[in-house]
């Protein structure tokens, strides 16, 4: 079994926040669940380390893109659930379209032939 860590990638500035917002799009989640979700969805390539996840959550909360509330989880555990706010939703859609643009632009530079078709 290969060590997943070696294949993991660093987050670009601001991408972690975008992923967090995307993760919350389908309903509230707590911090650990957010980290798990990101890891699973990226097939273990991306790992939101607690060391960067929690400061990111604090930042988003201060910017009022998400709200947080202490609630009981399904298995009766006190957890802090994060929810997307209207502002967060708007921010997510704008960052996603910017991201698409960014990826396309990178792609154009890396593979000029394909883009000229």
């Amino acid at each position: 079994m290969r060590d997943p860590k070696s294949e993991r990638m660093e987050f670009l500035q601001g991408t972690l926040e975008m992923l967090v917002l995307r993760t919350l799009l389908f309903g509230p989640k707590h911090g650990y669940a957010i980290a798990q979700f990101i890891r699973q969805m990226s097939n273990d390539v991306l790992s939101a380390e607690a060391g960067s996840l929690y400061p990111a959550l604090q930042r988003l909360e201060l910017q009022k893109l998400i709200t947080a509330k202490w609630e009981m989880s399904d298995n009766n555990r006190r957890v802090r659930h994060y929810r997307l706010t209207a502002a967060g939703r708007a921010k997510l859609s704008s960052s996603m379209s910017r991201w698409d643009e960014f990826v396309r632009a990178i792609g154009n530079v890396l593979n000029p032939a394909e883009s000229q078709e």
Partner: protein
Amino acid sequence: MLLPKKISLLLPWKRRARERSLDEELRSHVELAATDALEAGATPDEAEFAGRRELGSQLRIREDARNVWGFAALDHFFQDVHFEIRQLKRNPGFTTVVILTLALGAGANALMFTVIDSVLLRPLPYPESHQLVYVDSIQADGSHGSTSLPNFLDMRAQSRSFSAMAAYEEKSVSLRLPSGEPVHSTGVVASANLLDVLRVHPMLGRSFSAEQDQAVKVCSVVLSAEFWREHLSADPRVLGQNLAVDGKACSISGVMPDSFTFPSRDDEFWIPLQPAPDAMNRGASFLHVIARLKSGVTLAVAQTELKVIARRLEKAYPDEDNRMGFGSQLYQDRITENARPALFALLGAVVILLLIACANIANLQLARALGRKREMAIRAALGAGRMRVTGQLFTENIVLALIGTAVGFGLAAGSLGLLKRLAAGAIPRVQEIELRPEIWFAMVMVAGVSALLFGLASVWQSARQDIETALRESAGAVAGGRNQQKIRDLLVVAQLSLAIVLLAGSGLLLRTLYQLLSTDQGFTSEHVLTMQTAVSGTEPADRDLAATVYTPELDEIEHIPGVKAAGFITFLPLSNGSASATFIINGRSNTSRGTQPRALLNAASERFFSALRIPLLEGRFFERTDALGKPCVAIVNDVLARRYFAGQDPIGKQIAFDDPDFKSHPITIIGVVQGTRQTELAKPPDAQLYLDFRQVPPATLWSQFLLKQIMTYVVRSNGNPIALAKEVQHAIHRVDPSQTVFHVAAMTEIVSASVQSRRLGAILLSVFAGLALVVAAAGLYGILSYLVTQRKRDIAVRIALGAQQEEVVRMIVSRALLLYIAGVAAGLVGVIWCGHLLSNMLTGIRPWDPVALGITTSTLLLVSLLAAWFPARRAASIDPYQALRTD
């Protein structure tokens, strides 16, 4: 939208709640991870470890999250403050010196800020006081003075810039209370609209009404609240009752509020001006004028209009109003103008004192920074950023500055009472001086600025420091580079040069004061008793007071053993005012459009001149034979003789007053005396004219003006004059029991009181200069001691090689002299500037006064040598073996 949440996080409890929440969240993260691991088949121990690993460094996460909240700067600041307070506690000597030095500078500043704020900046206690304007008359010779009643009435009728204009005169009178009790009091005689101009109304009853301005039927009086309480037991039923003012019945119409004073605090009553027909003399100026600008009208506009009115009056009355003008200024400026230059000079002085204190602290800080070089280097080595280290130094300075300023503020608050007592009579509005919240604000600014000033050097020094060399240096070799030595020298030179500026300023003021007190006043004040008296005012108007009261009293007084001479005078020099009048020189055509002769007028008794030892230069004094009905005689002073009889013998010349009461009586000049300084010591004598008091025609404006009001007795004794006071009083009461006697004082006290404001300025400046001298000397001492410590090995080597003690002493002392010379040279510019700034407070002394400058520079030299002496002695007594053996 971001701000409110962030700001709420500044609150400590919000912040703690937030931290607890974050901790709990991180704990739950660990648990969730551990549960997952268990489910994946790990042992409980492995699961817990996995959870922990999942989280990473909890501390680090907390730190990062807190940075997101924006607490880092704040946290560091509080950490620094805590740390600094511990540091300062550990170093009490340093801390005490810094705080005391700064407290002196800051305290002096707080004191002067308070005085300037209360006296110059706060509006006067009248509604819309910025509209109040003081108008005076400008005489042909350019001097400003009071206004005559006809000129006032014309000016008021013609001006359009003012919504109201009132004339007033302060008066000292005898009052008789409704109970019949006689009281001496000072008050104001004013046109009936005075209180409307000031917009202050009685708290009880009403003001005197406007029609009384013209009609002389009933007199009404408004009383001060204090007088009402003290003499009428605050009884509201006194309204409508009669109070006799100088024998004339006036009904009490109102009582003013407690806070009201006008124009001075001593005034206890206000009565309407009821001019006798003969007061309508356009040449008799005795009124002050206060007016209120219409809203929207500027002082400049009003002044232009007053100029036009003056031209018009000059054309209409070419004799009396020749080359006359009106001057105007804001009333607040008028009452504070005399104090203004002195207060600003003192403000300058305290700012300089603060600068010296800051320079001194900067030097102390530099010395201390050397000792902490390794501490700082270790901090830097352990990863403290440059900003963090600088921030810590800055915090330290702020903490010191705030504590020092707070102590200084306490000093100022404590000494305010003393200052107010000293300043009574010397500074206007003294009773209004108080610490106000603005001063707190100003003091915080002072703290900030001084922290910046004395912190800059050490911050700069630490920023330039190289960690490695600092760590490698041995503790004994904390030398500080050449650069640092230069900064420290510069700071000491700055202190010395600022100190010499203050010393020179106080030297000049003290010299002026000394010069004034030793100047030829025109009279001899030693052994002279003075007291003022007022007749009860109930005498019949045509009673000849001179013959029936004053002459017998003077005789009685002269019979008292110990009395050498007794006389009296209307206006005593340097005390209760003066009056001037124009006159005509008989036989000289008055058609010339030049100015009419004018002189200060006084009624005197024959022995007045011997009582004050005013020398007779020519002719004779008054004699008993110069009685009423005999040819009128007058004595003039040398100034008048020179001014109006240049090249002629004034004796025997005749003059007259252009007034019905005197017109038929020519007055013959019989004597010339030396001029006295009448209004203030700084002013050379003006033309003076003395009439024999017996010849003032009774029942005229002249007798009211010169004889019936307050008279001052002048008694020369051959011992302590005050010891005679009781006997003289008895003598007066033997003749007239109802006469009031007040203001008993030795003439020397009166002379001394007349320079009270100058004395206050000189004292305060000397105190500040003295403090500056001490601080600067401490600075010099500090740097020389440091020099000795630093060059201990060097000195030890010299001594070991045979240097004599004197050589070592000479080395240190010459260093001190070098710094002293540099300081004095640098301060010279400041001294010149300071002299110019003070020039209007100097009389008879040039800003370059060699005596004052000589004394100040030698004082500083002496103190500098003293400051050098102890370090020099220490250097000379270094034991070379011991000094060279230690590291």
